[in-house]
Amino acid sequence: MNELEEFREEVAAWLQQNRPAQPDFLLPETFMEVGTDSQFHFLRDWQQQVYEAGYLGMAWPKEYGGGGKPQVLQDIATQEMARLKVPFMTNTIGLNWAGPLILAIGTEEEKQKYIKRILSAEDIWCQGFSEPDNGSDLAAATTTAVRDGDEYILNGSKIWTSLGSFARYMILLAKTNPKADNRYAGLSYFLSPMDVPGIDVQPIRKLTGEYGFTQTFFTDARIPASCLMGNEGEGWQIAMKTLTFERGATGGQAGGLAMNQMSVSDVVELARRSTREGRPAIEDPLIRDQLIRFLTEEQGDRLSGVRAGIPALVSERPAAIPMSGKLRGTEHKRRLFQFALSLMGSNAARWVGDSHADRGGLWPRSYFNSFSATIGGGTSQVQANIVGERVLGLPKDQG
């Protein structure tokens, strides 16, 4: 057995020994769904435990709290977390977007200040990009940051802020120069504290009845001028760099499992233990056909990820696979969970909290929550426009 295999066994053993017991409440499946204090504390404690064991941020520099080890070890640890289905790492925005961004372009001081506490989950991070009046159109941000001595004064509002109730910092896109030549040049990027007067966080109740998102209101909130990242006017470029981390287009993330979302194999398992007309649902030809459709689609998209790395096989439209990824993946999940409900017969109508609900009502909740991905980060319809226009060269649709 080589060193990597030994390490894989070591991680697996640790995870099995230390995985937290199933709590008596239903856990979220992604960081966008952390709605209660008990869910949050459970997940934060778990992240801290994983970090202290040395299985998070393994490839981040040692001087800032990382492990200073090869990326391949972190990848193995992450794979084992996924395989053993342990809870995800809740500080997703810090670990995967803000953290790698700070390591890539932040100052020495910023790295010293933020990185270790992102890994240990002492500081939770949230993201302030979207606004109430411009969901998918980030450059239209109207939240303002006005320089006043050693401070910036923030006014405006950000919405769909995951972890907003728990966050100590926000990566914030705000307008510093309303008179700029174009709408991109007027934007700046801040690593803003959340615990200052004038920043008010209001939870948003989701379609599931749960919480998880917030709206953040800025009313003459004063933050230190040192919170500006880079220079004024560089906000758009830094936001786009953040999105490359968010979309997984570049490496550098801290690693660790980012979500516990179910896949086709979970639905296959559900079909095995559901019944239809007295027989296992998995024997029903119509259900089998549907399950294979989903498997073929999931496998096709996974293989496209592999093919995207072979230039000779994507030469005609190199952007087609990466640019359609969100559209394909999120719509696949939405339809998959929608289908999963149909396997349970009338029990499909049971909701979270019902004592007879399968897996505590996970299925209908997953279906409802899947809309957060088909809507957030640019709706599927906007995505289809983008792919149609930028990949296929179709005309923009105007009025």
Binding site: V264, S265, V268, A271, I282, P285, R288, D289, L291, I292, R293, L295, T296, E297, Q299, G300, D301, R302, L303, S304, G305, V306, R307, I310, A312, L313, E316, R317, A320, I321, S324, L327, R328, Q381, A384, N385, V387, G388, E389, V391, L392, G393, L394, P395, K396, D397, Q398
Partner: protein
């Protein structure tokens, strides 16, 4: 199987990349749509000069091992020819001949391979006769009989039989499945009847045997049939992938030039979004195809990958062809619009060697 585990292997050599480039240019230059339409009216469906060019490029022998006169590059290399060929809707005996090659390669003795394969690499044409009147796709559902070395019964959808030098025919001898070789000289007169099929670029025949002699009996019928089927599924899927790319370009061209209600119609989301769905079907199809080809080349179990490739390719191509008609409006309803050419090819491909639902059923047996 408790857990569905599918592989993610994909390899593509520089050699394959070169073949794909060469074939893409070749079919684009030599098979423009007007030429393809002209060939629909010819008796053989293709020109000998084109086939001679393809043979000279070494394509007919790509999947034939060097010891039998080919270049030994395997079926994955044939995929790089089939895809651009399908894109142009080019009809050539390439596909039929590859199926003959696979049957002979996997079912024939060394002597038989020596006798046939090097001649194929030099330009002889082969095909396979596997289907019968039921329209079923189970290759073991065979009614043709071999009695005292002679065939009785009928085969349908024998592509390129009119020009084939040899045909591999499945039959039963005392109930046992066999695959035999029939020579061109024995396919005469009433034996050979052209079928009228949905894809007018194809030449498909019904073979009626009434004592037709079998020149050879292959050693291993079920291995031969399995190899033919897998090759057919892979190459048809590859051709369909090419077809989707071809029809997508026709659609995009129309959507970016045709004006209605004061704007280019590609601006309408009702047309734009389903066109993106065509693109997504294309990308998934190509990924499945090159994955299945990679597994086959590496000698790994490719069965599920092949079924997936055919299922995805068939449904995606049929969807693309169907929408292409619709999006051309009134012009789409005409013979002159190229959309119908692709829909016809898509339906031909869908119902060759099993449609998408059939292959999903096979997949369910393997994976669920």
């Amino acid at each position: 199987m408790a857990q569905v585990n599918l592989k993610g292997t994909m390899t593509f050599s520089d050699e394959q990349a070169m073949l794909l480039d060469t074939a893409t240019d070749y079919f684009r230059d030599k098979f423009p749509m007007a030429y393809v339409r002209d060939q629909m009216l010819s008796s053989s469906g293709y020109e000998q000069t084109r086939w001679d060019e393809m043979v000279a490029l070494g394509w007919s022998g790509l999947a034939i091992p060097e010891e039998f006169g080919g270049s030994g590059l395997g079926l994955a290399a044939a995929v790089t020819i089939a895809e651009p060929m399908g894109r142009a809707l080019a009809a050539t005996p390439f596909l039929s001949t590859q199926l003959f090659v696979q049957g002979m390669l996997h079912g024939g003795s060394v002597d038989q391979k020596n006798a046939y394969l090097s001649q194929i690499a030099e330009g002889k044409i082969g095909t396979v006769a596997l289907f019968e009147d039921s329209g079923g796709w189970d290759l073991t559902d065979v009614g043709v009989e071999l009695i005292d070395g002679r065939l009785k019964g009928a085969k349908t959808f024998v592509v390129d039989a009119g020009v084939a030098d040899w045909v591999l025919v499945s039959a039963r001898r005392d109930g046992e499945l066999v695959v035999v070789v029939v020579n061109k000289a024995d396919l005469t007169g009433s034996t050979l009847e052209r079928e009228v099929v949905i894809d007018e670029t194809r030449r498909s025949y019904r073979l009626s045997f009434n004592g037709t002699p079998a020149a050879e009996v292959l050693g291993d019928a079920s291995t031969a049939l399995n190899a033919i089927r897998n090759a057919a599924l892979l190459l048809i899927a590859a051709e369909s992938g090419g077809g989707i790319a071809g029809v997508l370009n026709v659609v995009v061209e129309y959507l970016t030039t045709r004006t209605a209600f004061g704007k280019k119609i590609g601006g309408f989301q009702g047309l734009k979004h389903p066109t993106v769905d065509i693109l997504i079907g294309l990308e998934r199809t190509r990924s499945h195809v090159y994955h299945a080809a990679s597994l086959l080349d590496a000698g790994e179990d490719a069965q599920a990958a092949i079924h997936m490739a055919k299922a995805e390719a068939s449904d995606s191509f049929a969807f693309a062809g169907d929408r292409a008609i619709q999006f051309h409006g009134g012009f789409g309803f005409t013979w002159d619009c190229d959309a119908q050419m692709y829909l016809r090819r898509a339906l031909w491909s869908q119902y060759s060697f099993g449609d998408a639902a059939y292959h999903r059923k096979q997949l369910a047996a393997l994976l669920l």
